[in-house]
Symmetry: C3
């Protein structure tokens, strides 16, 4: 695919600085780009790389243009612009339309869909227009997959769950397994609570490899539009995640947590159950949220690392913080006594 | 399925308060239940919802009965009773008995079992009565799956492993992969220790989606009866987990840990290797257990979160706890000197 | 397989102490070994077990030989020697050579390879000599798997990725899913950055069950020779892991981290993105690395657990460390004043 800077701007906005007839075929980093390629400067701290790039043109913010020795596309948000150009120049290669002869299809599949080798689609399932289900996927009874969604190899979807339009579901994702619900007998053994809710996933959701989203116990687990989940995330039963919230890898969300819109969670953050988290909350990596967060803002709770010997010395003290506080209070009292006398 | 309150009590115990001929078809929450449905009050803090429920009857504890405006089933443990009713009214829909033509069966399968599309069952494997193996499962050579167990789509079981009766194994579970065992060369490279043990799983075990249980190195990894593991849990080689222990999502247990009976582990708890944990130990979410726990009880170790700016201010101090303790001791000494003089 | 001690030493080095004609058929622990079996003493703290072992011979270090009542193989590194003997005596059983009729092969497979039931191998993929791809694996377009590598059931490999020679890839591993890259719109929604890099994996790499390694965004994600990854590890896009580095289960590495050679990571360690970690760095279990580690050494950062009531008492203080430090400083000032006067 060859496009000119003028064509890009005609489609995606922004302004050309320089010759709009310059042609580009791909977009990559300032270091890697060569002649005939487009690049971008997203982080102003790499501004010095402009001087040495071999790219034919660079996407830059207005205040950076003066330092750009090549032709440029000027936009207030170069990173967002890069995302749009890359989606256009590097579209995913769709597998052929149709149902592979080795697939077992007991449900309904749109003519425009692509169903890969050894896929199973259960009775009552509905696969929408232009959906891709790659090899070895398992789509349970009465599931629904919306138009233009793409399920990579080996996705498992339990019965009755729904995915909206334009989803991207990566390999090893499990949608709709039973939530972890048991009542306890007096002898300590456990009696299973049947998990009869579903998982309902909105439009434009992306779910990373080996992430698991459990079905609700009595109600449904809900993932709203535009949510982005990275790999190896665990979402418990009855959880509700608001639109456009994003979670990095290895996050865990326990059952019945209710998370707002446009939140962000760093890697390995852990959210306990039955909490409410407001809209626009940002949780740092490695932070455990053990009570509700009613206000937007940034929240953190992890311990800095040290050289092992220093850590041993300092963290043995953590077990004695309470007595340290007591000692300080006692010192304050004794000192006040002395000060009175002196 | 339609049952009367009298029929429920005849089967599951407890007492009817009100008209035993009342019929119900399903069980759900107090908020969601409508006429013809049963509900339950498990947590006394929701007692006020009794006044407004539209349920035809409610399962309640004896001390709550006076506040219940509907017919009731009275039992000392309403949540346990709910679990039993739900299992009865909402049985799992079994797939058809028999072997799907696309499955590859090289082992032995009971006539009453259900083997789904594109399943592989290796030579020497034995699949018991009424077992369900859903689509795309892989059961290695010489494995054994006990009667009435249910393997959801995409389970992988390595050769020689055993699952008891009535297990529920969710999608993406891997049973019997090699433990992480290597000897180190002087140049820093690693030589693999062959992992020749097995995984032995008892009766009535449930294992959540994408959980992994490694085979033993020389001995076996053992999961006793009634153990319940949530999603995304990692169990290392040679681990032994006692009966009726339950672990929430994202827990990790390192190799050769020996865990007692009836323990509970909160989400993302981490257990280091070669430890012993007594019976009836409860570990909080996010807690790392780095030494043995010889006594029953509740154990915790995580840091509370704060607004990010407050966290920065307070946690930078963690690195200096040892010198803080030194300063306090020095202050105590100097103060004692002054006190002597005054 | 029956071998004599003399044959073992001829192949693997070391010296026989006692009768070199003694025959052994297997190797196991000192407790489990019986007549006709070999054992080893790797950890000197178990030296007392030598007195009671029923093994026909034991692998020991030179300084332990005097306490060994059986025949022995003497070597400075008994554990490494055990690994080599076990690999020889307990070779993995290869599945039959050839392509199972239920597999769908659109790429190129060496005649000596073993392709299992219901595997899919995409167009342009190349499977090397003696490679094993077990049941339900999915190998995307244009992938390359090097000679003697072994992919256990249910591995998913996205298009264009490469695995070197002699790899062991466990079930549920996902190689080459999209990295987690989005640009943010002003309304808080996310625009996907196409992930056009690959995953390049060197020789002699082992990857544990359900581990995920994302493809690069513009560059490649690189795993060098001899790296060993345990189960449930998440490796983000553009990460580079140096040769012979080993990571225990549940570790997470965020995008663009650059990790040195011969490093070790304890379970559930978490590495933030865009960091550099030097060669020969050892990170403790449960430690979050939030800034670069430029020097070799041991680094730790986790909190010790306590009985729950003690934890509550002590950790509530963590939120007030800054004011504790202020109080200590104030005490020091006031005390100095008094000391001047006295």
């Amino acid at each position: 695919m060859v496009v000119t800077l003028a064509e890009i701007v005609a489609r995606l906005g922004g302004e050309v600085a320089g010759d709009g007839r310059i042609e580009v075929t791909a977009i990559t980093t300032l270091d890697a780009a060569g002649p005939g390629q487009l690049s971008f400067l997203a982080n102003p701290k790499y501004r010095a790389k402009l001087a040495t790039t071999k790219a034919s043109a660079v996407i830059v913010a207005p205040d950076v243009l003066k330092d750009c020795p090549t032709a440029a596309i000027v936009t207030p948000q170069p990173y967002l612009y890069f995302a749009r150009v890359a989606q256009w120049l590097q579209p995913r290669q769709r597998p052929p339309v149709g149902i592979h002869p080795s697939a077992v299809v007991e449900g309904t599949v749109a003519d425009s869909a692509s169903i890969g080798a050894n896929v199973w689609i259960g009775p009552g399932a509905e696969i929408g227009e232009r959906v891709v289900v790659e090899a070895n996927g398992s789509i349970g009874n009465d599931c629904h997959v919306g138009a233009d969604s793409w399920l990579h190899p080996g996705v498992a979807m339990y019965s009755g769950c729904r995915i909206g339009a334009r989803a991207i579901i990566h390999s090893g994702v499990v949608i709709g397994a039973d939530g972890f619900g048991f009542a306890r007998e007096t002898d300590g053994s456990w009696v299973k609570i049947p998990q009869s809710g579903r998982v309902l996933i909105g439009d434009d959701v992306e779910i990373g490899a080996n992430t698991t989203i459990d079905r609700g116990a009595l109600e449904d687990t809900v993932i709203e539009d535009g949510v982005k989940l990275d790999n190896q995330i665990q979402i418990g039963h009855n959880v509700h995640i608001g639109a456009h919230t994003a979670m990095a890898g290895c996050v865990g969300v326990a059952g019945s947590a209710r998370i707002g819109r446009r939140c962000t969670f760093g890697g390995a953050a852990m959210i306990l159950g039955h909490l409410e988290i407001a809209d626009d909350v940002n949780i740092s990596s490695g932070t455990m949220i053990a009570k509700s967060v009613p206000n937007a803002g940034n929240y953190t709770g992890w311990v800095p690392f040290l050289e092992h010997a220093d850590w041993l010395k300092n963290f043995s003290r953590v077990r004695h913080l309470d007595s340290m506080a007591d000692k300080i209070r006692a010192l304050e009292g004794r000192l006040a006594e002395l000060e009175k006398k002196s």
